[in-house]
């Protein structure tokens, strides 16, 4: 009774079922697979559930119109269903289908109505600006951009052979000077800008540009010492957010070597974040999960700026330039 129709002789009913399955498979797996080829990302981009639902509803409407196009089509489509119900494929398959379909329906209803246990989760904004005070926007790091007065003072100290260092770094340098008996105490910094400065100093003709570069080296040294003492336990000695204590926090310390962290923000923002820590964050950045201290309670402004200088240097990044200034 059921005539084979269509190119493949499948019959209208099975053609419809196959079409439906093929379209679902294409949306569910085909598009994400193609997305990986297109975007070159290591993960697929899934099609959202609501979009899948809409596509499938449209498909069903189209198929329904096709089936009900004429009485003949409808008759063709219903033939295998009627044959099954009449028991022409055997009694057992009929019983199996008539039991399976209500059970599937029951399972769907149970799944839809049973209360789901889901962990409360929230999207976290990493660099919130909703409460970022404007006055920090254009701030420049004073220890990275020393003024003439600071440079002159440094030259005077260098000439006298008495460089002022922060107490945290001074004793290690003192030990080094005692042991090595160098011609100038600044020789403990074995970098080209410092070597150039010390040579000019010995020759008695110091240029401001060289002195500024040498002063920067001294500030960097102090910043690295302060970083190692204060920040390294969490952010790591390689500033990769992997310090010895990092595993203990649900919100891992930021990895400064990642693109999109400290290079996407202005220095003033970094300074504000270091000073106010987790508690200074707005709600969208889940301040209750952040272990970042309010460093303004422990470190002076100069100490914080020196740390920021060293942090950018260790991460091999530069801060974003403020706009419109």
């Amino acid at each position: 009774m059921s005539e084979r129709t269509g190119k493949f002789g499948l019959g209208r009913f099975w053609t419809m079922v196959l079409t439906l399955v093929a379209i679902y498979a294409f949306i569910k797996w085909g598009i994400p697979a193609a997305s990986r080829q297109i975007t070159n990302l290591p993960f697929p981009l899934p099609v959202p559930g609501t979009l899948i639902f809409m596509f499938m509803v449209l498909t069903l409407i189209a198929l329904f119109m096709l089936v009900t196009f004429s009485d003949e089509h409808l008759e063709d489509f219903l033939a295998p269903i009627k044959a099954l119900l009449a028991g022409r494929y055997g009694k057992l398959p009929r019983a199996a289908v008539l039991v399976a379909i209500p059970l599937i329906a029951g399972w769907q209803v149970y799944d839809a109505t049973v209360p789901k246990v889901e962990l409360p989760s929230s999207l976290r904004i990493q660099h919130p600006s909703s409460n970022f005070p404007k006055k920090f926007e254009a701030m420049k790091n004073p220890v990275a951009n020393p003024d003439d007065k600071a440079i002159d003072a440094f030259i005077e100290q260098a000439k006298a052979g008495e460089i002022e260092l922060i107490p945290q770094a001074a004793s290690d340098v003192e030990n080094w000077v005692k042991e090595m008996e160098p011609e100038h105490m600044l020789e403990f910094i074995p970098t080209p800008p410092m070597k150039k400065f010390l040579k000019e100093l010995a020759d008695g003709k110091v240029s401001k540009v060289t002195a500024k570069a040498a002063l920067l080296e001294k500030n960097l040294f102090e910043g690295r010492a302060l970083y190692a003492m204060n920040c390294r336990p969490c952010h790591g000695d390689s500033v990769a957010g992997d310090g010895p204590m990092a595993d203990g926090f649900k919100l891992r310390p930021i990895n400064f070597t990642d693109n999109g962290t400290i290079e996407t923000i202005v220095e003033g923002y970094t300074f504000w974040r270091v000073g106010n820590g987790g508690p200074g964050l707005p709600t969208e950045a889940t301040p209750w999960d952040s272990a970042m201290p309010e460093w303004k309670l422990s470190l002076t402004e100069e100490e914080r700026w020196k740390i920021i200088l060293a942090e950018y240097d260790l991460a091999e990044k530069t801060p974003r330039i403020p706009e419109g200034h």
Binding site: P42, Y110, P115, Q168, D237, S238, P293
Partner: protein
């Protein structure tokens, strides 16, 4: 009762299943052969990271395959692709520049381990001037090989301030040549490296891995356990490996600093590698400068290999979930920590770390893991908290506590507590404590109080169990309210103290039970309702590690959850759906049959 003791330790069989190793049996050029098996070592984070980056990108995958076939050691995080270059002045100068920028702040400009950060670290940064190195593949007392130094610089020492410097592991790490340059410079600090008679490679003092290595299975592990007993490893490391042997307190290293005996069940604290090969090397070579001897004469290769397998089997595998389910029990929740009922509860491991949010900051915490279980009978809830602590500290001397005033000054020297000298890290000074922390207000959405003691507008409820109170037979759990770390938590009124606590300490492990009615009439208490996720954090103190006040370890927020019974309507809807759809099917069948005639 033995019952609970091993609940949170994995069975040997369990670990064995996850210990399959790749990369074995690859032919490695002789010059690159490392006693620590280069083939087996590639599965470190480096390999995993590389694999993650290239997944699905076909050309890259092919490249990786080619590299894997032709140059596997280049992959291995700590095995160089070529031998150490000649140690020229140029190489040493390059090393000095790197050392100045990356190493000197811990190890000191003179290599004496006295950099600005050193006094806050325990274990202390290595003093290179003495030529004494802990982690080697050479006989006890010998210098390390160049490859040993390369391995330490490359992969770091887990659980210490020494981190990995391999450029394959971290983005701004050091290239292979840079690492060799630094090593060449470090060697200038100790004269011993200049003496060819002390070169362990030339004098044949390098320890090799055994020729035949029995597989990691129940049989090898059992034999290893017998070696552990016979060799009396437990005198220091404790019968269960928790570092609680009677000889283990107040030992000092050659530099005069106190050392703690390793709890070998915590792999993240095992400094020089957690693989069987690494463990084998540790007791074959000894750890120079510490009481850990070499067993190369006392035990043969086979016995040492078995022992290494046994130690490997003791390593704890952490659970990964953030939600502690309070499992329903009938007939009341248990009070005793060793009650049989706890077997029904699913454990959740909580990772803790030092308190660094507010001064006094502490980066040498002793307790880094607590395992929690929860049971409820619908009226009460009971928590079982287990953690390893090698020493039972039940005395508290209030006058020995640190006054944090100096450490809280803006622009003070430092806000961290020094590892030695600032607080007493000895027995009989401070008590052991554990605390559970919950928000007092039910959280709205994901909003919570700060994980470190809340804040004035959003306080937390603390359940603090104190070992000295328990020992004295008093109510051991103090209920307190905290409004941020800057003020001391306030104990609740005597009449409102309603948490029952019971504890036991055995073989280096505390087990504490705290229980309370699910609901109380105190508005400053946490209330437990079925179906809600209640944030929970853990604070812990090890008294003999000098911990008290804010000098402690803590966790960030986790959750406790009591399952709500499924509402009746769900079952009704389900049954209705089955009946209606079944009915329609039956009706259609009859209709078609009738039509057919």
């Amino acid at each position: 009762m033995v019952g609970l003791r091993e609940l949170s330790t994995p069975s040997p069989g369990h670990s064995a299943a996850t210990l399959s190793r790749g990369g074995r049996g690859l032919v490695v050029p002789a010059a690159m052969q490392d006693p620590l098996s280069p083939g087996g070592r590639g599965r470190g984070p480096a390999t995993r990271r590389v694999a993650g980056r290239v997944r699905g990108i076909i050309p890259a995958a092919i490249a990786v395959l080619l590299v894997g076939v032709f140059a596997l050691p280049a992959f291995a995080a700590d095995t160089p692709s070529a031998p150490m270059p000649e140690e020229t002045d140029e190489l040493r100068a390059r090393g000095q520049a790197i050392y100045f920028r990356r190493c000197s702040f811990c190890h000191g400009l003179l290599g004496d381990g006295e950099g600005p950060a050193a006094e806050f670290l325990d274990p202390r940064p290595r003093d290179f001037t003495l030529g004494t190195f802990k982690f080697r593949t050479t006989q006890s007392g010998e210098l390390p090989t160049d490859l040993d130094l390369f391995r330490t610089v490359s992969r770091g020492l887990s659980g210490t301030g020494m981190q990995a410097f391999d450029a394959d592991l971290i983005k701004n790490g050091l290239s292979e040549e840079d690492r060799w340059a630094v090593i060449a410079y470090i060697k200038t600090f100790a004269q011993e490296f200049e003496d060819p008679d002390l070169d362990p490679v030339k004098t044949g003092k390098v320890v090799k891995l055994p020729q035949s290595r029995a597989p990691f299975d129940a049989d090898t592990i059992a034999k290893g356990k017998a070696v552990f007993e016979k060799t009396k490893c437990w005198e220091c490391h404790g019968k269960l490996g928790r570092g609680d042997g009677q000889k283990s307190f107040d030992r000092k290293d050659d530099w005069g600093f106190p050392i703690r005996i390793r709890n070998v069940t915590h792999p993240w604290k095992i400094k020089a590698g957690t693989d069987v090969e690494d463990i084998y090397m540790r007791f074959s070579t000894g750890i120079n400068g510490t009481p850990m001897p070499s067993f190369i004469k006392a035990l043969n290769e086979e016995e040492r290999w078995q022992l290494a397998n046994y130690i490997k089997s003791l390593q704890h595998r952490r659970t990964n979930h953030q939600v502690l389910k309070a499992v329903p029990v009938l007939g009341g929740v248990p009070t005793a920590p060793d009650a049989e009922a706890w077997r029904q509860a699913e454990p959740m491991d909580v990772r803790l770390t030092g308190q660094v949010v507010g001064a006094p900051r502490w980066q040498n915490p002793s307790i880094e893991l607590a395992t929690l279980r929860a049971l409820t009978d619908g009226k009460e809830i009971a928590f079982l908290i287990e953690w390893d602590d090698a020493f039972k500290d039940t005395v508290h001397k209030g006058d020995a506590e640190l006054d944090p005033k100096e450490l809280r000054k803006v622009g003070g020297y430092n806000s961290y507590v020094a590892a030695n000298g600032m607080v007493t890290r000895k027995l009989e000074t401070f008590r052991d404590q554990i605390a559970l922390q919950f928000p007092i207000k039910p959280p709205e959405g994901t909003k919570k109080p700060h994980f470190f003691r809340g804040k004035p507008s959003n306080p937390v409820h603390l359940w603090v169990w104190k070992a000295d109170l328990a020992e004295g037979g008093k109510r051991a759990v103090v209920e307190a309210v905290s409004r941020g770390w800057r003020q001391k938590p306030k104990a609740q009124a005597q009449a409102k103290q309603q948490i029952a606590g019971k504890a036991s300490w055995n073989q280096g492990r505390w087990r504490v039970v705290m229980k309370r009615p699910l609901v109380t009439d105190d508005k400053n208490d946490v209330q437990f309702a079925a179906g809600a996720f209640i944030p929970m954090a853990v604070n812990a103190w090890d008294g003999s590690n000098g911990e008290h006040g804010l000098i402690m370890s803590l966790s960030t927020w986790h959750y406790v959850f009591i399952e709500a019974p499924t509402p009746m309507r769900v079952y009704i809807f389900t049954v209705l759906a089955v009946l209606i759809v079944g009915g329609i099917g039956f009706w259609l069948m009859r209709k078609v049959e009738r039509e057919d005639g």
